[in-house]
Point group: C2
Chain length 302, copies 2
């Protein structure tokens, strides 16, 4: 089945204690699309500048991502410069150049309006609702956001949340959004605003999901090599939403498998800079790592 | 089967955003004993002062903890004063009065020397080895330690680790002990020094175990009420070591169940100040919460 994703396509310059990347392919919609493409057809709506090279488009095309909604406009592509310390949990933003992304007004092509699933990557909540006004009754709407929108566009974000089925954010954002230190109470407060399920991303500690009062904890695989955490959250979303779009089954067992596939995609992505690990990744490797998550988490009745 | 535990019995004064406790029952060996007593016979070796009230002894006796090795000596009992902020992950020590604990030299009663399992709570690694010199071939030796000993008694701690089967410490201590930011590489380094297994406690993020190259991730139950995290690590150890002493089976399936029972005991303990939750806890409640952990962590093959 088909997924429409709307978000950023960018150049990232990243320094970690394990190396660096200069003007590498990045952006929330890019990471999401590459990850989700292993499971379903992805339609990408984003904007880039004249400086965006064909080779990056070719990579996304090789992953069968539909680029009919990717506009190339005069100006420069969105750029982000960030660094990580040894703990790799928190990025420090050194520079953000919005460039052509500053005037991004998502136009959903007619051919995309019947998408089965919509993923609203981390963009202005006003624009997230603009996207939803242009689509016809998707079976699942999932969204991400970030501390910037929680701080500066709280009311607009609340309006978007009313329309969203699944919200995927990190634990600090859960606490900030609900203004509540206890994660369980914070989650309950957010779910009362509209979303049917909340996925709480916790980096190296895994992810939690709450849906219909039922909690699920997905572990993170202990990894010997973590080079660059950039995009891990979007790859998680790609695996999670991608699998759900693949099966179009949103029952308890399916969303739990989707949580693990999200964790699988994130675990691969952090092994290399930019999207480099996803370039060579195979579905057989995804299946093998899913089995590694099973071995990691399994225990018997008492 | 029987567990010998050697550690502290103390008075704790604790402030959290959710209340406070003054001179409440605390200490690593106390928490461990109370938790482990649900699974096996516990023999406690520790020291208290003349100010230690009979009511606390009665509580431990009501949990069938053998107090034959608890010495009461002239002077005051060990006191700790600490506080927690809203995140509850890290205690801030405001005051430590070692009192009679400063001269603690563990004497293992003859009747305890054949204990099947030994737990060395967080005390000077010199004293941990003193304990091991006095016991006869226990089937399992587990130990805790803390940043203070890693910083100030590194060589002695390394000597103790040569003698230990299972080391239970938190993730910051793993990284500090190994001087290595990556947890997998840090764990491997520590295991090369002697322990057969390493249990990494991560507070609200659960716990990890590595044994024979095999990783297991135990989730933490999302809790709506967390009042006081003091003693959670020792309760975890009590559930973990207690269950292993109960079954005397250290295979893969058993140690995974033990990890979950450690998590279960910690999850109860944080719900109230001091050991108050353990005072009313029943084995039926422990079984019910084990099943809640199963529901929390379960997912199917892809």
């Amino acid at each position: 089945m088909s997924i429409l994703v709307v978000g950023s396509v960018a150049f990232d310059t990243i320094r970690t204690p394990f190396g660096q990347a200069d003007e590498a392919l990045g952006g929330s919609a890019t990471y999401f699309s590459a990850a989700a493409s292993f499971f379903a057809d992805v339609r990408l709506v984003a904007v880039v500048g004249e400086d965006f090279p064909d080779q990056h488009l070719e990579f996304l095309r090789s992953r069968r991502v539909d680029l009919g909604g990717l506009r190339r406009v005069p100006g420069k592509t969105f750029r982000w410069v960030g660094e990580y310390g040894f703990d790799l949990n928190q990025a420090r933003t050194l520079e953000t150049q919005l460039n052509v992304f500053a005037d991004f007004a998502p136009q959903i092509p007619e051919a995309y309006r019947d998408s089965d699933v919509v993923f609203l990557a981390n963009i202005d909540p006003d624009l997230q609702r603009e996207v939803l006004r242009q689509v016809r009754r998707p079976a699942l709407i999932a969204a991400d956001t970030m501390n910037y929108w929680i701080t500066n566009k709280a009311e607009s974000l609340r309006q978007t949340l009313r329309l969203v089925d699944a919200l995927l954010i990190n634990d600090a954002e859960v606490r900030q959004l609900a203004d509540e230190a206890n994660l369980v109470q914070a989650a309950r407060k957010i779910l009362a605003w509209g979303p049917k399920s909340l996925v709480i991303k916790r980096g190296e500690y895994g992810a939690l999901m709450i849906k219909n009062g039922d909690w699920f904890a997905a572990p993170a695989l202990p990894l010997e090599v973590v080079r660059d955490p950039t995009g891990a959250g979007d790859c998680f979303a790609g695996g999670f939403v991608g699998y759900l779009a693949n099966t179009m089954n949103f029952d308890n067992a399916s969303v739990r498998k989707a949580m693990i596939l999200g964790s699988v995609m994130a675990s691969f992505n952090v092994e290399a800079f930019s999207l480099n690990r996803l370039r060579t990744l195979t579905y057989a490797e995804i299946e093998a790592r899913y089995r590694a998550f099973r071995r990691l988490a399994q225990f018997e009745d008492l």
